[in-house]
Symmetry: C2
Subunit: 221 residues, 2 copies
């Protein structure tokens, strides 16, 4: 199974590509500029033992190379336009939306789209033929890129298609991370908005750590 | 310092009363029916070493007895009406809103008020003279009432008045719980909506625990 990561040249996309490739899942990074995508792939492969685990292509090439799942990891400003550019290639695949609608110029706030959340906006744009699953919003890019440490963040997965969610949960668990079905797409309004709260804590001088994650905490654990 | 807990005869209110009283903070439970409030107080005091730690009164009596903080722990359906009944007594005090706008008949969903969240609705209703702080939304009532175990949930505190938030954070920390300033009142839209996600996990047969909490997870912890 090969996974496309659109916006894979950004910090979140790079980190995810590294983690997935290291876990044995081939990745194709997609960027508007195929050359930049290939350069990022070369750089990331140099950090891995399997030097051909990550490929690079333009957006449409990366989507075409993906068997089953396309991860959308672009900045929020490019969210809709990126989907428009590839939507005809998506039917038959799952769109995994990890985009957080951070407010322009203030990462401590969300500026939610009219649809309610990025995940819901993607589902509305793509229609029923493409299941959209929201996931991986709350994982710090720094954490993803730091391969020497485990990921200190459980993953809340939401969407309206149960089978698609279960596939994404399985993918996330390959990264040695707990992943939970957190309900329908509407719950992305909450899950996406957790990220600026974590960013706020990371920035705060009163909190003794940065790169905070989120954990679902069982009693007695 | 004496704290009023309105809706203190419900499971969340009872558990909070127990925890606060045990930590040395006198509590007055407020209910529409003063007799029920006193009966609940007697019952709870019997579980504590200090048998006079919790008092009971009607809503207005409980608010009048509170020096500084009034905790609103009523069901969402009674949120606005309860505030209307006591609003003239609140100036000079902090209103701590722990209400989650769960959908009628479905605790796996929120049905947010037009103001965006219960905390924002309370702030709009009470006006600028009364600082409203949202807190303690995600702590399970069962956990609160189980005095043999620590509380497995960090507390996200939000509101527009920093000094009021800091007082609430200090109060919550008396319960041996980590509490964080999670930003302005608008963030209650996220924080309140975490609760139905936790309830969903608690109900799910695929999740091996109930009474899930939330933890802000530092790297390497």
């Amino acid at each position: 199974m090969s996974i496309a990561i659109l916006g894979g040249t950004g910090p979140q996309g790079r980190g995810l590509a590294l983690r997935l490739a290291r876990a044995g899942t081939p990745v194709v990074i997609g960027s508007r500029d195929a050359g930049r995508a290939r350069a990022a792939a070369d750089e990331l492969n140099a950090r891995l033992e399997n030097a051909a685990a990550i490929g690079g292509d333009d957006l449409r090439g990366a989507v075409a190379a993906a068997d089953e799942m396309v991860i959308l990891a672009v900045p929020y400003a490019a969210h809709d336009a990126t989907l428009e550019a590839i939507r005809d290639l998506l039917p038959g695949k799952i769109l995994v939306d990890i985009v957080v609608p951070l407010a322009d110029g203030d990462p401590k706030r969300v500026d939610m789209p009219a649809a309610g959340s990025a995940t819901e906006a993607a589902q509305a744009l793509l229609g029923d033929a493409v299941p959209v699953v929201g996931a991986l919003h709350n994982v710090s890019a720094v954490t993803l890129n730091d391969l020497d440490h485990p990921i200190n963040c459980d993953v809340l997965v939401c969407g309206n298609d149960l089978a698609a969610k279960e596939k994404v949960i399985e993918l996330v668990r390959r990264l040695d991370v707990a992943a939970y079905n957190a309900g329908p797409a509407v719950n992305a309004r909450c899950i996406e908005a957790i990220t600026p709260i974590l960013i706020r804590l990371n920035i705060s001088k009163k909190v003794p750590f940065t790169h905070a994650g989120l954990r679902i905490w069982a009693p007695g654990a």
